[in-house]
Amino acid sequence: MQALLQLTIANIRSFVRDRAAMFWTLVFPLIFILMFGAIFTGGGTSTRVFAWVDGDGSAASAELRAAFAELDNVELRDATEAGGLDAMRQGDLRAVIVVPAGYGAAVAAAARAPGPPVAITVYTDPTQQNQSADTFRFVQTVLGRINLEVSGRGPAVVPEARAVQTESLTFISYLVPSILGMSLMQLGVFAAIPLVADREKLILKRLSATPLRRWQLVGSNVLMRLLIGIVQTLIIVTVGALAFDVQISGNVLLVAALVVLGSLSFISLGYVIASFARTEDAANGMTSVVQFPLMFLSGTFFPIDEMPEVLRGIARVLPLTYLSDALRQVMVGGTPFSPLWLDFAVLGLFLAICFAISARFFRWT
């Protein structure tokens, strides 16, 4: 236990002192998030664009629209409910506000005698917590003023919150879990390089002349990468939340389970590479050959459904497709590419295959 712990600490020290490793695992994913985030959110965070669906067409509903329109930083776009929701799903809008039929009549009735309040439906995306809360603040401000004008005795108009089924995410909420998947993949695949280097420098041989057991050696490597994977996850999730307001809406335990399973799967892929790469240079080359297709063809940057047929076929056999898909489902409620259980099953199977290959072909000297 002592030996396992000390070796894990030694591995972490070597990792932290390796600038290239630090860059690829901690800085590189953040560059992607910040760069793509800046390009694709393009100032959208400062203007509030709402779809305005007038189901009533009365003077009162026109008045309500005017009250919203005169607020600073609010832009209204008239739309049908279906059209507004579609636009919102594509990330063009923050919210859809629906004034129901009979709104004018209900407000007029409320001015004469208190009755049941009429509900204005407000669709927001709950994974975008801050934006969602911000939208409701605006809605409350406007409705509060209307209520005051109408009676002053009780609310005549209330908002009714509805979540837009987050079938389609804003690009940045799509990107954050994908980048996390990509980072865990890289962290695992890059395990091959120090492993081959240690073998080339005969460090593995020297270790096997001590009472240290091989499971302790492998265990410390895996433990080190798992810990770094967790740090990576925290950094990516935090940056996603602070810079781009992407909130984790799903089950944290499920996210943790995926981070662990995903890390283990790709670490074992790293061991497969280390089983066949004789030199550190060869390991460097092989990790590049493995990681770039995984990075670009597993739906990291664009949904797989939007890819050409040929690439979609490739994506279907890449393990990262399933990790990122599962992460998007669990973290931000992304549209499943495959069912969650299948994602877990594919990753588990992939881990088992890589483990078997490494157990058969990995050489210590």
């Binding site: 002592q2 020290r13 420098k201 009472p211």
Partner: protein
Amino acid sequence: MTVAAPAARETGLAIRVHNLRKQYGETRAVDGISFEVRSGEVFGLLGPNGAGKTTTVEILEGLRAADSGEAMVLGIDANRNPETLKPRIGVALQTASLYPKLTVTEVLDLFRSFYGRRGHSTGELIERFDLTEKRTSQTRELSGGQRQRLVVALALVNDPELVFLDEPTTGLDPAARRSLWEVVLDLKRQGRTILLTTHYMEEAEVLCDRLAIMDHGRFLESGTVKELVGRHFQERAVRFDRIHGLADASLAAIDGVVSVAHENGEVVLYTRDVPRAIDGLLAAAGAAGTEPENLTIRRPTLEDVFLALTGRALRD
């Protein structure tokens, strides 16, 4: 051939090897060697690169399995129970094999943890191996001599009874080599058993109580340095730069010359009667219209033994 350690057949044996064999494809790396090493003895395996020294040592360290033969180390079968053996031995591999980005202190601490932290403290080892100034340096910043001292220190973290040093001074400058010899002699004074491989004759002469000369996986000869030299040479060696037009045959015909050899552009005449041999040499050279240059006379060394046994020089 069998090399039994004198007067230590029953007890006090650190290593007993019998008819050990290891083959890689067509190459017989170790080809049926047998020897014994007594407790407290420094035993040397001497031979050129590729002689099979490292393979032999790695079998005894439990790192490789032999194809056949017996390898008993500290009473443990190194082929069958390497995991029982490993806690009790200290190992310095031929190549330094250090974590490049860990400091001297960190590497020592790490290796101590593999043995449950028994034996010497990290501070003691650092002081004893003269690494105090470098204790916070990463190992990749160490000089060759410092690296080798650290490698030997790592072989001692568990305070082992038996230490394997595989070519401990290869690639070191003469000063660093001498300083490492001091370290090994110090270990010897503490009564540790050491199995050392080297391809430096001088090193074997300085450090080893007994040694075996190895080539092509076999032992050519073994014994103490004195025995080896005495067994082959009552002769002295007369050396001089090669003279054109003076054939080996005519040199061998000189009165008093026993044999003729070549080493690094020099001719070596072995003789029991130095004045007579030199007279003859001067006469032969004079007849060829020249005289020998850089003429030296010396007692034969292990170098000469090796040359006589293999017909080639050890240092290539």
